[in-house]
């Protein structure tokens, strides 16, 4: 049965659909207006109107609404769609009918919106668009069966070829009716009872129309937060009732957000099984099969962490040989220069300042290149979106959603593009929280610090015959950054930046083979930036640091005493009491001070001061291993000290560029100042805790 009641002549029709379903193309085909059609999701960002020229002279106004996956709105664009269909948008009357455009090649996902629209009780026509694409991919849809299952007319169209548009016009003129198949999906009994009760209360208290009451009740029940924020339009009694409902459903272990989605999809699957070929309804494509594993609640998360572990193990083991080669290369250059220039200040400056400082950083180029090699492959293959999807569950536990994980993943490379990527987050508070925690993710600038400490002080054990201890330590540092970011996000969402988290829907891009060319270009660009920094800023800082570590000169003193009497030595001694509780001496203090603006400078600083202090042959690493504290007679660097330094660098905000970008993105110095102080305090407190715990355990 298709129609239940006749409808009066329609004058206004809303055109709705998922992003990229060909909605704007169909709008152009029906109205004759020409608009720009792009491939970007949500290309239509404004309300647009056009006139459908009809056969018998009656004009119908067509509203082109923004693309959306759901009427449970998460962005301002999507809110417009829900508001128009509910009639809650000023100066926009409720449309007489809706044309819901559906991508036939992606029926199941598109029917989610259709099911929400037919529940609204508006006369609806489904335009089954992109039929040619569906047929090419072997999808067969029985239009009559689909129409029967949805209870609305279904018109096959190919908008870009203007096919089916006459049938659509004719269907509009015939006057569609509300679906007879609304609310066919079944909720668990308890949830349904609460939904009906709440709808009834809203209708009685606020005189809502039944459809508005139902939609609002559904929104309130499925919301992750209590309705105190931003819902002042709801009476206190109803808000209290909703809180009770939340507690009750949470107590019963019902995921209030997923339960509605799953119920709808259960019904949609039945519709697909009835109306389309088995291959479509079972979704058995290779991509779907891969996604079933990679986005699985348990296996997806496990695979994500396994992939990250393999990545960091490989970064460490693969980089070893080229790093040694670069190290030997710098040693050879140093020896050659040393033999050409006679002993004196210029000799010291070139050997101890320039070559040691710059060489100490450049040595880590292979690790940087490998990091970007893996990140580029993960991104190009389409896996990053799956990672964001599987992390949504973890992110939602701290009050954010999967969309926030993409900027955090980008921050593995550098916090600056990560912070820029937060622009896609709709909710301002969620965006600010993501900006504030993203720099806790270990960026590539921290990698040289980690690599230096691990190579020098972490023993080369192999666990279970396959996993190397240095690799495990490296993964742990990245994991610490992630855990700290999540913990801070949770704290911020519970304190300064309280707010409701929005539902997360994202389109997973198709898998594709990563392009070797684009990966190589990406590695080249990042490698070039790294080398440019080493050849300019780090070179300059190394030269200045050499001066500060050499002057004022002390006659008749050992190299170590001369360094202690130098400008940087005095500065290091000055801050030593503050950093001593962390297990750091004044030389590490020099490193902390000099790397306040850029983290990698710590490595070049160590290169310079250990070359000045230790004249004997051997690498910087060996000089650090040999260094003994004259007061205690114990080594300056132990495995515990190295771990404390790395923990400090995971958590501390030692990057001026990031602070400047945060200032620009938040339009205030308040947030970067807050970020600098909270990260410094966190780094100090956690490092102190690690050091004390290490001492207690006898390290």
């Amino acid at each position: 049965m298709m129609r239940t009641m006749p409808t009066p002549a329609i004058t206004t029709v809303a055109l709705v659909g998922n992003p990229n379903c060909g909605k704007t193309t169909l709008f152009n085909a029906l109205t004759g207006l020409r608009q720009k059609v792009g491939n970007y999701p949500g290309v239509t960002v404004e309300k647009k109107e056009g006139i459908v020229s009809s056969v018998n002279g009656r004009d119908i106004t067509l509203l082109d609404l923004p693309g959306t996956y759901s009427l449970i709105a998460s962005s301002p664009d999507e809110q417009v769609v829900a508001d128009v269909l509910l009639g809650s948008l000023k100066n926009t009357p409720v449309p007489d009918a809706v044309i819901c455009v559906v991508d036939a090649s992606n029926l199941e996902r598109n029917l989610y919106l259709v099911s929400q629209i037919i529940d609204h009780g508006l006369p609806t026509i489904v335009a089954l668009n992109m039929m040619d694409v569906a047929e090419q991919s072997g999808v067969r849809i029985d239009v009559r069966h689909l129409s029967d299952a949805l209870g609305v007319p279904v018109i096959p169209t190919v908008a870009k070829k203007n096919k089916g548009t006459d049938d659509l016009r004719a269907a509009l003129l015939a006057g569609p009716a509300p679906s007879s198949r609304a609310m066919q999906w079944t909720l668990p009994e308890t949830v349904q009872r609460e939904l009906d009760e709440l709808s009834g209360m809203l209708s009685a208290a606020h005189k809502y129309r039944s459809v508005v009451a139902h939609h609002t009740a559904l929104l309130l029940l499925s919301s992750p937060a209590a309705p105190d924020e931003g819902r002042t339009d709801i009476s206190p009694e109803i808000r209290a009732h909703v809180r009770q409902d939340h507690e009750k459903l949470d107590f019963l272990g019902i995921d209030r957000y997923s339960v509605f989605i799953e119920a709808r999809y259960k019904w949609i699957k039945q519709v697909c099984a009835y109306a389309s070929s088995p291959s479509l309804s079972t979704g058995a494509s290779l991509s779907d099969r891969v996604d079933a594993v990679l986005t699985h609640k348990f296996w997806g998360v496990l695979i994500f962490f396994a992939l990250m572990s393999v990545m960091f193990q490989m970064i460490f083991s693969w980089a070893e040989l080229p790093m040694d080669l670069i190290g030997h290369g710098f040693d050879a250059v140093s020896a050659r220069v040393g033999s050409v220039i006679p002993p004196g200040d210029v000799h010291d400056l070139i050997v101890n300042g320039v070559i040691s400082g710059v060489g100490a950083v450049v040595m880590f180029l292979p690790q940087i290149l490998l990091l970007f090699f893996f990140l580029s492959i993960l991104e190009d293959s389409g896996y990053m979106s799956r990672a964001a999807y599987v992390m949504d569950r973890i992110m939602s536990s701290v009050g954010l959603h999967g969309k926030s994980f993409i900027p955090m993943l980008s921050s593995f490379a550098c916090a600056i593009p990560g912070i820029m990527a937060t622009r896609t987050i709709e909710h301002p508070k969620d965006r600010l929280v993501t900006i504030l925690v993203s720099p806790l993710m270990s960026c590539s600038a921290r990698l040289p610090v980690y690599a230096l400490m691990i190579a020098a002080f972490i023993p080369q054990y192999t666990l279970l015959g396959v996993v190397s201890l240095p690799g495990v330590v490296l993964i742990s540092l990245y994991a610490l950054g992630l855990v700290a970011a999540l913990a801070m996000a949770w704290t911020l969402k519970k304190t300064f930046l309280k707010g409701t988290s929005l539902p997360f829907l994202m389109e997973l891009p198709p898998y594709k083979m990563p392009s070797l060319k684009s990966t190589a270009i990406h590695m080249w660009e990042r490698g070039f930036i790294f080398l440019k920094k080493a050849g300019t800023i780090i070179l300059g800082i190394s030269i200045v640091l050499w001066f500060l570590a050499t002057y004022p000169k002390t006659e008749n003193a050992t190299p170590s005493e001369r360094l202690a009497q130098s400008f940087v030595g005095r500065a290091g001694k000055f801050i030593e009491p503050a950093i001593k509780p962390l297990g750091f001496d004044w030389k590490i203090g020099i490193g902390l001070l000099s790397s306040l603006l850029q983290r990698e400078v710590f490595v070049s600083t160590m290169g310079t001061i250990y070359n000045i202090q230790d004249d004997s042959a051997g690498s910087m690493r060996e000089a650090m291993q040999r260094d003994v504290n004259p007061d205690t007679g114990k080594p300056v660097f132990t495995a515990l000290t190295a771990i404390c330094i790395m923990v400090y660098y995971v958590l501390a905000m030692q990057c001026l560029s990031t602070l400047v970008v945060v200032r620009r993105e938040t339009n205030s110095w308040k947030w970067p100042a807050f970020q600098f102080f909270y990260m410094s305090a966190l780094a100090y407190a956690v490092t102190f805790g690690v050091y004390r715990a290490g001492l207690m355990l006898g390290y």
Binding site: G344, I416, P417, I541, I543, R664, E665
Partner: protein, 47 residues
């Protein structure tokens, strides 16, 4: 002061001056970009 000391101090002074200059230039260029992550593309659009 021998020639090596004079030469090394000149290199240090030049490096310090270049460092200060580059940071000032960066600051000036950042003023014209929205993000500060590059040397300025002229995109003044705020998110």
């Amino acid at each position: 002061m021998d020639w090596q000391q004079i030469a090394s101090l000149c290199i240090v002074a030049l490096s310090a001056a270049l460092l200060v200059r580059s940071s000032l230039v960066k600051k000036k260029k950042r003023g014209s970009s929205a993000c500060g992550s590059c040397d300025g593309c002229g995109n003044k659009e705020r998110p």
